[in-house]
């Protein structure tokens, strides 16, 4: 579990098993999650703890801002910083919500069929939102059209009707931890599969499907 600490207060922080992050590290992590979510074609792992920590940080900064004398230049700079962080957080959550709405039957199916130990893709609140979205849409379609149709056509299989995310779309990435022997599947029948090494710091344009597990583990960063 990660915990926040004030910059400059590190000497007072207790030595514990918990990993302590500086505000700068927290925001860096938020930006990484934001970019990954923005550029990934599918919904990524849910990061509720990160969101909570960032919200705490914003509240903390706004409280500090109240104490600063009005008209002080520092106030403007702090205000801008708070706005920037809030923008990144909002944009991150919006990306997630858009993907949940776009792929709602698949997102729900994935969450329902995951094993207990596996990481969750949806926070409990996102799960509730997705279920409500599905129910709402089904009720609408039924009441406007489906109930007027012949008996054998009164339902629609949402999993078939709504397209799945395209995992073969190409993404730009930067390598954070070197990887060796990444298998690249062929795209057409004429091609053959081949193997690449990804060096730390290098940048590539690849099919998302090939590097999806590396995004999840943090070995690569989508850009």
């Amino acid at each position: 579990r990660e915990r926040m600490s004030d910059a400059g207060d590190l000497s007072g922080a207790e030595e514990s098993q918990e990993e302590v992050m500086t505000p700068a590290e927290l925001i860096a992590k938020l930006e990484e999650a934001w970019l990954n979510e923005k550029f990934s074609p599918e919904l990524l792992e849910n990061k509720s703890e990160l969101v909570e920590c960032v919200m705490e940080q914003i509240t903390h900064m706004e409280e500090n801002l109240q104490r600063v004398r009005k008209g002080d230049v520092k106030a403007s700079v702090h205000r801008m910083e708070i706005d920037r962080i809030r923008f990144v957080l909002s944009s991150y959550l919006r990306s997630r919500l858009q993907k949940i709405e776009r792929f709602f039957p698949h997102v729900l199916e994935k969450e329902k069929s995951r094993a207990d130990g596996d990481p969750s893709f949806l926070s409990p609140e996102e799960f509730a939102f997705a279920k409500e979205y599905l129910a709402n849409t089904e009720v609408y379609l039924k009441n406007v059209a489906l109930k007027h149709m012949p008996p054998n056509l009164q339902s629609i299989d949402m999993l078939k009707a709504v397209p799945e995310p395209c995992l073969d779309s190409f993404v730009f990435l930067r390598v954070k931890e070197s990887q060796e022997n990444i298998l690249v599947e062929p795209e057409t029948d004429e091609q053959r599969e081949y193997v690449v090494d990804l060096d730390e710091g290098s940048q590539h344009l690849m099919r998302y499907r090939t590097i999806a597990p590396l995004v999840a583990s943090g070995a690569v960063q989508l850009i």
Binding site: R86, E126, E132, V139, Y140, A145
Partner: protein
């Protein structure tokens, strides 16, 4: 993105045609006992029915996506001109969507939540010059001062307070 009135007429014709085709299929099925030459036409009619169902669903779903976009663009209250184009079920969908979204936003971070329909653009400056396009009455900003938003008046206001009003068309960002 404009939303046209739900085209009930076109819609009803579609449903009626679908029902007619279905009845024909049923009649044919009754005759098929032992006769296989009617099966292709039954299959053909069934494909037509499925296609009709898909078209109708696609049309309605596209309307829902536009209505969803309205919540993000206009906020919780829709202008009457737009509401006029929506049927009762669509208003119901919109209200439910609004509620779901509000519940979700309130739950963010565990305290008071976060309104993610704000902060749509990265902040460039703290204060912006805005011109008032319509009379909007009094407007209070963070330090307590009250501004009177009268048509054509110009103000230098904090950006985050103006975002919603700019989207609603009450204020206009003046870029000199």
């Amino acid at each position: 993105m404009s939303l046209l009135t739900l085209r009930r007429n076109f819609f009803n014709v579609h449903v009626i045609t679908t029902t007619k085709i279905y009845r024909e299929n049923c009649l044919n099925e009754a005759k098929t006992e032992g006769k296989s030459e009617l099966i292709p036409s039954i299959k053909f009619r069934h494909s037509c029915l499925l296609r009709n169902q898909r078209c109708i669903a696609a049309y309605l779903y596209d309307r829902l996506l536009r209505i969803r976009a309205l919540r993000w663009e206009y906020g919780s209250v829709l202008p009457t001109t737009i509401r006029f184009h929506m049927c009762a079920e669509e208003m119901e969908w919109f209200n439910q969507y609004k509620k779901s979204l509000a519940t979700y936003m309130r739950s963010i971070g565990g305290e008071e939540g976060l309104d993610i329909t704000q902060d749509m653009k990265p902040p460039k400056s703290l204060y912006i010059e805005v011109r008032c396009l319509k009379d909007h009455g009094e407007f209070e900003i963070d330090d307590g001062t009250v501004i009177l938003l009268k048509k054509n008046s110009q103000h230098f206001l904090p950006r985050w307070k103006c975002e919603q009003l700019i989207r609603q068309g009450v204020l206009e960002h003046v870029i000199s």
